[in-house]
């Protein structure tokens, strides 16, 4: 066992910069400590270990942020916006005027990752990522603090995502363009990507307009073990075992991984054909063991005659977008920016 472990450690070290390796390995080890074999989770220790940052109404690097509690759910949303050009307006949060009356300013609703269990909107890694997203895409970003498992199982995260979508759609101060509406995109990494899909599916059914989905190595799965899972198990920070644990913690008790939440185009899934599902940008990291499920998802969208673009980053590991020290990061930002600003 020890021998194969060394090999695993060395492989991941070869493909990511040193500080990225330290960051993701640190998470991996902390998460190993937090997950208990009986399926419970050490939430107290997790909150203590999680590095959090406050919002900042004074712009830093051209982006400012503030927190807003949705009164209906009691959950926090953190909103990021590009800083106003006029310095005199810095530090003032305007909840009356729309983002613009002439231009279209995309609003990206972002669901952070963490396999449904970890992290929050105010986790440092996600706050930093959302800031970069807002700055690069010149978009408003709303990062949603959804309820996490195992304390809150399916469908809590989807319900919270839906509530966030309705909330965002109804904010006049997030409107833009000559048609004065909120131009919404859904985005998320890992479990956040999974949430984005399911919220978009509901939006399509209930005819709420979502302009696009951005799924960053989304978390999907299924009962059978795919080739990529077997080949990459334990090699790049992630193991099949931990994936199984998170699904057991999220899915209703007694359910298996072919549940449509986990496997939307699997034996219990359904086609989205005929629905007004948003166009999707699906980003797959070539060293992510879940990739076969993500590729199956892309196929499922195609079979439902939905518009999907696959961005396959061959040498990327999970979490490549946390630190801007690799080409995959810049590639991703450019793709997302084009995706939400199609006319630029």
């Amino acid at each position: 066992m020890a021998g194969s472990n060394e090999v695993n450690l060395n492989e991941s070290k070869r493909v990511v910069p040193l500080n990225t390796w330290v960051l993701i390995s640190n998470f991996k080890l902390a998460y190993n400590i937090l997950r208990r074999a009986d399926g419970t989770f050490n939430r107290e220790l997790a909150e203590f270990l999680d590095r959090k940052v406050p919002a900042n109404t004074i712009p830093v690097d051209g982006v400012f942020s503030f927190d807003h509690v949705d009164r209906a759910t009691g959950l926090l949303n953190r909103i990021y916006q590009p800083a106003p050009a006029n310095e005199a307006q810095w530090g003032i949060v305007d909840l009356q005027k729309p983002l613009s009356t002439t231009e279209i300013v995309p609003v990206i609703i972002f669901f952070h990752g963490g396999s449904f269990t970890h992290s929050s909107a105010n986790s440092a890694i996600y706050d930093t990522f959302c800031r970069r997203l807002a700055g690069t895409c010149k978009a408003a970003v709303v990062s949603v603090n959804y309820r996490r498992s195992p304390e809150h199982r399916y469908p809590s995260a989807y319900d919270d995502g839906w509530a966030a979508l309705k909330w965002v759609k109804s904010r006049t101060w997030l409107q833009s363009g000559k048609d004065s509406k909120v131009h919404v995109y859904l985005a998320g990494d890992s479990s956040g990507g999974n949430i984005a899909h399911h919220v978009a599916a509901r939006a399509a059914e209930e005819e709420v307009e979502v302009l696009g989905n951005i799924l960053l190595h989304p978390m999907f799965g299924g009962l059978r073990r795919t080739e990529s899972e077997k080949r990459l198990d334990g090699k790049y920070f992630v193991t099949i075992q931990d994936r199984d644990w998170y699904w057991r913690a999220y899915l209703p008790e007694g359910e298996d991984r072919d549940h449509p939440a986990c496997n939307p185009f699997g034996p219990r899934g359904k086609s989205l054909e005929g629905l007004n599902f948003p166009k999707s940008l699906v980003v797959v990291a070539g060293l992510d063991l879940v990739q076969d499920w993500q590729l199956a998802y892309v196929e499922g969208l195609k079979e439902s005659r939905q518009v999907v673009k696959l961005l396959y980053l061959e040498q990327a590991t999970i979490g490549f977008y946390f630190l801007p020290n690799n080409t995959h990061f810049y590639c991703l930002m450019e793709e997302i920016s084009s995706f939400v600003n199609p006319n630029c």
Binding site: N5, L9, N26, I33, L45, R51, I58, T136
Partner: protein, 536 residues
């Protein structure tokens, strides 16, 4: 201009381990943006430690639950310390496989070859670009440090004026600024703690003052105190100096009684017991009364300490008796609880306790007067008083804050010399609690009401005490203690018969000794009723 410039400039240079122009103390800016403080030069070492931890966890999966439930996790931002503390936990609880060497630079055999291939194995993109960013970060850092201090003062001023919303927004700005500063040492570290304390004062004072050290478990307080004792010489100096004075005061007496106002683990007393054992003419009968908070879990921790000390005394043939007095506050102790005998020579030992009595608003029969009153009635041969040499009891918040900022900056500077972990980390938490009490609390909850030597002189003089010279012996021995235990920078000074220990000419702790002035109206020995000494 690339749209990613804003992305790369946040936090400055990345962790390019290949770049040798990185200053050793420079923290990795990208990891800082993720909430972690790791020096660029430490990255490789930290990575190795992470690998060791992973291997250790793989080899002893049963112990992982112990890491979650029993281990104490310190500052998770400092990945290096966090990983090390987990590794030491695992070493203690599991039997480590013997093939893991102790030297941190080696790893399990096959892996070594890969890392010797070194920098090629780590893909560092855009290395040349980052070199420029390093110099920019340095200048920014210094500037940011100064800005932080200014912002701290502005924030404290707003708090004093009651402008909490503005103060709150300054907190956010300071926290953002902190990410550009090295917070593992220097002004960055101190600012980090003070920003935290201000934040608590503004947003959640109740959790500090009524959930804080006042009601933190005595066990926790003892652990922190012990690590503070180990990490820097202040407490050792206090014990050493007080013991010397007590030893001299007990000369010629056969029955002696030491009253310790804060027993903790009784760290001060083994040295005294041993010194008494070696006394020419033989040791006296030693009684020790230790005051401390009651143990919440049914343990009698005072008694446990007493038993250990008794065992030591027995081993050096000193007749010894111990009594524990459990009290939440010093003002709750009544002299009859101490059971002082008529023929005993009494020494009262107060290490950083008297200032806790200064919290009451009333001037008539204030707790400090009451306590000093009954101490005087005991007519002790000596009262040793050790106090923080600082003016943290001023009524104006801004004055207190400014004084505390300089005092604790100096103290943190002096801690830099300590390399022991986790002593240093826990010593910092010990200091942090003091800072929080000074900055966040008011009224009775604020117990850290440090006053400088000059004020204590006046107060004790008024209460009927006169100073005893600590003597040149004490000075010489304190200086010697420093050379044995500590780094350059600490200095002992003598000030009108009292000794202070400080860092680079700023005294941080003052030790003095006192005796009751004989009162013509009352007989020597015990007075059973409380007389009013205010007339003196």
């Amino acid at each position: 201009m690339s749209p990613y410039d804003s992305a790369t400039s946040s936090g400055g240079g990345s962790g390019s381990s290949a770049s040798s122009s990185a200053k050793p103390s420079e923290i990795d800016g990208l990891l800082a943006g993720a909430g972690y403080k790791v020096r660029s030069s430490d990255l490789r070492h930290v990575a190795q430690r992470l690998e060791r931890l992973e291997t250790a966890m793989v080899n002893s999966p049963v112990e992982i639950s112990h890491l979650a439930s029993d281990a104490v996790h310190y500052n998770p931002s400092d990945i290096a310390s966090w990983v090390d503390s987990l590794l030491s936990e695992l070493h203690q609880t599991a039997s480590m496989p013997s093939d893991l060497p102790d030297l941190p630079d080696l790893m399990v055999a096959p892996a070594i070859n890969h890392t010797v291939v070194s920098d090629a194995a780590w893909t560092d993109q855009d290395a040349p670009q980052q070199l420029n960013q390093f110099t920019v970060v340095t200048a920014m850092e210094e500037d940011s440090g100064i800005r932080l201090v200014h912002m701290l003062m502005t924030c404290a001023e707003s708090v004093q004026r009651g402008e909490l919303a503005f103060a709150g927004s300054l907190i956010e700005d300071m926290q953002a600024l902190l990410t550009r500063v090295n917070t593992s040492c220097g002004i960055g570290k101190v600012a980090d703690y003070f920003i935290d304390a201000l934040r608590r004062r503004i947003f959640s004072p109740q959790s500090v003052c009524f959930g804080g050290s006042g009601s933190a478990s005595p066990y926790e307080n003892e652990v922190l105190y012990h690590h503070f004792y180990e990490a820097c010489p202040y407490l050792k100096f206090a014990h050493f100096t007080a013991n010397q004075a007590i030893l001299e005061a007990f000369d010629g007496h056969d029955c002696v009684h030491v009253i310790d106002f804060n027993l903790m683990h009784g760290l001060q007393w083994p040295a005294l017991i041993q010194a008494l054992a070696l006394r020419p003419g033989g040791p006296p009968l030693l009684r020790l009364t230790g005051i401390g908070p009651p143990s919440p879990d049914g343990r009698d921790s005072l008694r446990e300490v007493g038993l250990r000390l008794a065992e030591l005394a027995r081993s050096v043939n000193v007749r010894f008796a111990f009594r524990g007095v459990a009290a939440l506050r010093l003002e709750d102790v009544k002299p009859w609880m101490l059971q002082v005998g008529p023929k005993e020579a009494v020494a009262v030992n107060s290490i950083m306790q008297l200032h806790r009595l200064l919290g009451s608003e009333s001037t008539r029969n204030s707790p400090v007067e009451v306590v000093l009153g009954w101490i005087r009635n005991l007519n002790p041969k000596i009262m040793t008083v050790i106090e923080q040499e600082a003016n943290h009891n001023q009524p104006g918040f801004m004055d207190r804050f400014t004084e505390a900022l300089y005092y604790y900056s100096t103290m943190f500077d002096s801690l830099e010399a300590c390399t022991l972990q986790p002593e240093k980390a826990l010593a910092e938490i010990y200091i942090q609690r003091e800072i929080c009490n000074v900055v966040c609390c008011e009224g009775l909850a604020r117990v850290e009401r440090h006053e400088p030597l000059g004020k204590w002189r006046a107060r004790l003089g008024q209460a009927g005490f006169r100073p005893l010279q600590l003597g040149s012996n004490a000075f010489k021995q304190a200086s010697m203690l420093l050379t044995l235990f500590s780094a350059e920078g600490y200095c002992v000074e003598e000030k009108e018969g009292c000794l202070t220990l400080g860092w680079h000419s700023r005294p941080l702790i003052a030790a003095s000794a006192w005796q009751a002035v004989p009162d013509a109206n009352s007989p020597l020995g015990i007075v059973n009723h409380h007389s009013n000494h205010n007339a003196l």
